[in-house]
Amino acid sequence: MSKSTSKEEFIAHELKSNFGDVISELKVTGPRRVYVTVPPESLRDILLFLKNMFNARHIVTITGIDMMKSFELIYHIAVPGEHIRSILVNVKTHIPRDNPTMPSVVDILPGATLYEREVHDLLGIVFEGHPNLERLILPDDWPEDEFPLRKDWKPKEV
Amino acid sequence: MMNVLYYLFRVLIYPGFLFISALAFVFEWIDRKAHAHFQNRIGPLYAGPHGFLQPLADFIKLMAKEDFTPTWANPVFFNITPVLAATLPVFASFYIPFTGMPVLPPFEGDLVLVLTLTTFFTITAFLAGWFSSNRFSSVGAIRVVLQFLGYEIPMFISLGSAAIAAGSLSITKIANSQVIPFAILQPLGFAIYIIALQAELEKIPFDIPEAESEIVAGWLTEFAGRKLAFFRLSEDLRLVLGAGLATAVFLGGGSGAIFPPIVWFLIKMVIVVLIATSLRTVFARLKIDQVVRGAWKYLLPLALLQLLITKILLVVM
């Protein structure tokens, strides 16, 4: 399986050379897996870079995690390797907990519209520039300030 | 006095109302049982021997159910249409020679009367749907009329060409005049009539008035209890009427070797019902625009062609 690991190495190398100063953490954890951590501002550039350089157009999903002191967002991008969606590049960012806002990536990857709405719905992160950031999942009468996936949210007795 | 009693007996009991209704239930049973066996299923089983009394059981159950009129529905039409729907096919069936002689004395042109009664039924269905103040039924009502525009004319022409071949407009005369059944002489006419019959009875692939509104039953939506029972019964009665008409006009009525005419007539009607059931089993449902366009683009020219062939054959002979 040496050929495929070299592809991940190649991607990691490219990322390092172009965004070296900005990347705070970059590791290849196995065949077809690349983890890279970047500050929120340069996330869009990374995605644009992956799209133009590697023709990575498939965003699998966006995972939002409440890390108690901050929110972590992971953008799972499928980059073409042996097949058009082989290698999974997970781009991670951390945003402060008090006013969680993120630039939207819908214009780069149209597939991400629903994922951003879902994270907004369940974690309360505002995506600026999203065409219609309405509720996706929670019912209309769900209180505005409550976000179920936050760690401090406890299900109330009905 | 005896004559009146005899007539009453003929109209109400033997080849009349009771006989036709019983026939309707039997045909519904045959239709459901055959449809089930085609699909490798059993079909009605527990009500009576092999589920024979299932249609009757359904009818009685519906009759016992609560019967209501929606507030916004037009009470006049809402209550009349079920009765009309049940009586029209029965009245039309009085001119079909089940036992060699129809219930009411045949006259020249009873074929036209029977066809107008079937058209009246379509109008009744439209009124029933339109005046039951439900969005689904109003959509279903429109669909009934739309589909009616499609299949009616080819049906009349195919029957007309048979009438011309027999040289008379009386169903009984047409039935008796056939040495070789018209289905063999005019296969095209018979095929068109069967397709049109399938559309008239709103069976798949033409059950768009009910199915298109998906879950709800189209123009039948608001009806429940006794009214729905009557509409169900009218559906079976129309099957009897359609099969009877097909047998009389295309399959040579009651003429046959050993058995009396009534037995031959029933056998041929069962064959027509089985044909209708197998059509219902084999096809998927078409869209309303496909049906109407298909009827005007294919059925009508073929019907006219059949008319032409019959005319040429007559002139030649």
Binding site: R57, L114 | R41
Partner: protein, 393 residues
């Protein structure tokens, strides 16, 4: 987002349609934009995962979608095994392939049958679902339950295939192959089916890629992508099978993709049975995985399924993210609706989710006048009827 059951026809596949609400933005007659409103049956599965232990999480993951329950458990177990950084024994990997493919056959046959029911072809539905019983019997034979297989465990597989079972499975597969070929024949030759499914709900190849569609929807638009190829998990790369795609980009293409994939799955299972290595089917693991995070991707019958798992060394997972294939297909569905007239919505919606419930509400906003009104589906249908009749005069 909870996975949705199968919609009989169309790109996304919930069997029992969720309560969907489609919001249309119009420019006069033409649909400019569609935004869906989901979640009427959201059960908070991801939050539930955080309240359960790792092993109990398997049984919750299994109940996300009744029909494709096995891919969920496989994906969840693969992710957690990556946390343990342990390799499942070879025999367990082959058993996982067999169970996943059996589930794919079951899911595809179910969908093809429901496709028939949607377009009014009840006989096709009856026959396909009668033969689908054979798959369920095989699954019951192996795992003890006809649908909810609960075959996967963290570190391997629970049930093993004994030699006498192999004979029964092979006979079942032969029968299924013969029947699926026949049903594909009917799909190809039955004019009324083609009349209702050809060039309906068209999704072009570029849209399918841009909008990240997945599964048969994507492969129906001639895009070669399948998680079993993209990411050969549990030794799929040792099995030779080909990737099915069709170029027509409409509902008919998706039906053909599913029919062919069923035949492929049957081949895969046969090959697995031939090459089945011996050895243990499970590896003993500690109760809680070491802290870390892992991502696993699996090809569910409806498309690519992703599970992200994060553990902080405690008894319960810190975060579990599941992205179901149907959610990925919703933007593609909206794309199919754009550019058509209001009058075409019933046709497309009928082809997308024909068993949609009558509580379907459609919110129209005319962007010119800003006027907005809410129609139920039947008013919309009456409008489309009137619209077409005027156009015909």
């Amino acid at each position: 987002m909870m996975s949705i059951y199968r919609i009989p026809v169309g790109p996304q596949h919930p069997a029992i349609k969720e309560g969907f609400q489609w919001n249309f933005k119009l420019d006069g007659e033409v649909i400019v934009d569609v935004t869906p409103r989901l979640g009427f049956v959201h059960r908070g599965i991801e939050k539930g995962m955080e309240l359960r232990s790792w092993v109990q999480g398997i049984y919750l993951a299994e109940r996300i979608c009744g029909i494709c329950n096995t891919p969920h458990t496989t994906c969840y177990c693969l992710a957690v095994e990556q946390l343990y950084d342990v390799e499942v024994p070879k025999r367990a990997q082959y058993l996982r392939i067999i169970i996943n493919e059996l589930n794919r056959i079951h899911s595809h046959l179910l969908w093809i049958g429901v496709l028939g029911m949607e377009i009014g072809f009840m006989t096709y539905f009856m026959y396909v679902w009668r033969d689908r019983e054979r798959v369920m019997d095989i699954v019951e034979l192996i795992t003890g339950n006809r649908v909810t297989m609960s075959m996967n465990m963290i570190g391997g597989v629970v049930y093993d295939i004994t030699p006498p079972m192999e004979g029964i499975i092979r006979r079942g597969l032969d029968y299924l192959e013969e029947r699926t070929k026949y049903y594909k024949e009917v799909l190809l030759n039955e004019p009324t089916i083609r009349a209702r499914t050809e060039n309906v709900g068209v999704l072009s190849k570029s849209d399918a890629i841009d909008l990240c569609a997945v599964g048969p929807t994507l492969r129906g638009s001639d895009v070669k992508s399948d998680a079993r190829f993209d990411e050969p998990y549990s030794s799929y790369d040792e099995i030779s099978f080909n990737l099915v795609t069709y170029p027509y980009c409409d509902v008919y293409a998706r039906a053909l993709v599913r029919a062919d994939e069923t035949l492929e799955s049957i081949q895969i299972i046969r090959e697995c049975l031939d090459k089945m290595p011996s050895g243990p089917i499970k590896v003993r693991l500690k109760r809680t995985p070491p802290p870390g995070e892992a991502v696993a991707r699996v090809e569910a019958p409806r498309g690519e399924l992703l599970h992200y798992v994060k553990s902080d060394g405690k008894e319960k997972p810190y975060r579990v993210k599941m992205r179901t294939p149907t959610l990925a297909n919703i933007p593609a569905t909206c794309e199919m609706l754009k550019g058509y007239y209001i009058a075409d919505i019933p046709a497309i919606i009928a082809s997308i989710d024909p068993c949609y419930c009558c509580t379907e509400r459609m919110l129209f906003i005319d962007i010119n006048s800003g006027k907005s009104w809410v129609w139920t589906d039947s008013e919309l249908r009456r409008y489309s009827l009137k619209y077409y009749r005027e156009r015909r005069k």
